[in-house]
């Protein structure tokens, strides 16, 4: 399967949206994410339902952040896009009759469960405000302003 980059992509466009202030269209966000506008709408749909972003149709419409960046964590965003699978590996058979396979699956699942739990805790510790702050630190390190940072 393809690698899932929805979380990476949506966090990226959320921060751009926050920097912008004014509504951004799916087309603009798609350019930043180097993808299609429909993909953007699809992913942001979940965030809208969760109340993190707002969308307007028609002239001057587009997407805006609907909540303080400090009140949104990466975990919230992960949940909002539908909690996609985290682990690339799985069991060959989910409910095996073979007792050998049951023993193997149990051991693997233990590890996967712990790793997923840790990952979600980590995600819950990072707010979008923290990401924005990191972005501004990176700008400062290069003696740039947000205006000068054209998307590439």
């Amino acid at each position: 399967m393809k690698r899932d980059s929805r979380l990476s992509g949506v966090l990226h466009v959320l921060l751009h949206m926050a920097e912008q202030g004014t509504p951004m269209t799916s087309e603009q966000l798609a350019r930043a994410m180097q993808t299609n506008a429909v993909v953007v709408r699809r992913i942001l749909g979940g965030l809208r339902e969760a109340g993190f972003v707002h969308s307007e149709k028609g002239h001057g419409g587009g997407w805006t952040i609907a909540r303080d960046l400090a009140a949104i964590t990466m975990r919230d965003v992960y949940d909002a896009i539908g909690r996609p699978r985290l682990m690339a590996m799985g069991n060959r058979t989910e409910a095996p009759g073979c007792l050998v396979e049951q023993a193997v699956n149990a051991a693997l699942d233990d590890g996967f469960r712990d790793a997923e739990a840790l990952l979600l805790v980590r995600f819950g510790e990072v707010t979008l405000a923290a990401l924005a702050a990191d972005f501004h630190a990176r700008l400062a390190a290069r003696n740039l302003t947000a205006q000068e940072h054209i998307h590439g």
Copy 2:
């Protein structure tokens, strides 16, 4: 992409191999794994190079365990099959010019790194002997012997 079940599959056949004692052919192992003999050979090839299993051609040939089960961990097996990707998610762009995306990637990568490290530690704590013991405990719980446990 399809979900990666190589680790699950190879652990399964390794334990069957150990239970058997005598060499098992790729065909036999493939039946247990419900897959193709070539797939089995492909995966076991890595284990052979790592010295965990031995293979013989010709009459009476097949695969045997080449080391004490207590001396092989799930981590060893994971390494031997080529350390496949553990996380299902990745960054949209690996080396982005966009500083926003750099900030996002850095945060995500932190989490992924920690989760992968934990998973590998867990894998390193489980030996094949422990898995075999768990299998026998499951047999005992059902009042069966290994002989009676026909593969299903």
